[in-house]
Amino acid sequence: MGDPSRIRATATGDEVEVKILMKHIMETGQRKDATGKVIPAHFIKNVEVKCNDKVVLDGLFGPAVSKDPFLSFKFKGAKTGDKITVTWRDDTGDSRTDQVNVG
């Protein structure tokens, strides 16, 4: 269970803009530590955003996504009070799900 994602979902008419800030180190596996040893890769691979039970975005990340991944997109067909759920899973199998209501 990683750290919570911050999610903002704002409705304008029936279109919702979702902004997400996930917390994750997104280590590329390219960096070396002070002794010269490679720091192993550790990054989010799957991201899924749902509105109630419908998937509204299904993403795959590589290690090139910046630390603390930011994601923003829009979709139609939701209204204030609908639930937005953001789930991520990383390369170790760790996962995190957070939820907000559309405001």
């Binding site: 279109e15 590329t28 390219q30 960096r31 070396k32 691979k45 799957n46 899924e48 419908k54 998937v55 509204v56 975005l57 299904d58 993403g59 795959l60 990340f61 590589g62 290690p63 090139a64 996504v65 910046s66 630390k67 991944p69 930011f70 994601l71 923003s72 997109f73 829009k74 979709f75 139609k76 067909g77 899973r89």
Partner: protein
């Protein structure tokens, strides 16, 4: 491999049983599959091939919003958007990164074909917005100069 009707029935019934018993729950399955071949590919051409594409065309209907110069290669904001009808898939690639594919998205009906995220760039490079629409692969590219590389080391 030829799947005849008998095989299909067998496979379907095993899967249904698995769902029914709860071994495989629909919620457990992320629709998009993370492919090492795609995420290790060097450059746009190799990535499209790994995705099963047979080449791509440049499209003026795809736009990329990224800085001309990135002060910090570790955090480069990129927005991509597609005006191509039936856009079902969009991806951001950084040509000169150790692996070009940075992030990809399946776009369900009802979702705007536009995403914004932040990527790492190792050096000055083309950023590509790759789109799949109606089975066709389309691309738009833009160069972003990097003063301080973002891959570390």
């Amino acid at each position: 491999m030829n799947l005849n009707r008998r095989d299909m029935l067998r496979i379907t019934s095993v899967l249904s049983a698995a769902f029914a018993v709860g071994i495989l729950k629909p919620n457990d399955v992320f629709a998009a599959e993370w492919s090492a071949a795609v995420f290790n590919a060097k450059g746009l051409d190799a990535a499209v091939k790994a995705l099963g594409g047979n080449g791509f065309a440049v499209s003026k209907d795809i736009s990329i919003d990224a800085p001309d110069i990135a002060e910090n290669g570790a955090v480069v904001p990129v927005s991509i958007s597609s005006a191509v009808p039936n856009t079902e898939y969009m991806a951001i690639l950084v040509e000169k990164n150790p692996s070009a594919m940075a992030a990809s998205f399946n776009i369900p009906t009802g979702t705007q074909p536009a995403v914004t995220t932040r990527v790492k760039m190792g050096m000055t490079s083309q950023i590509h917005a790759l789109v799949k629409a109606d089975g066709k692969w389309l691309v738009a590219s833009k160069e972003t100069k990097v003063t301080l590389g973002g891959c570390g080391g």
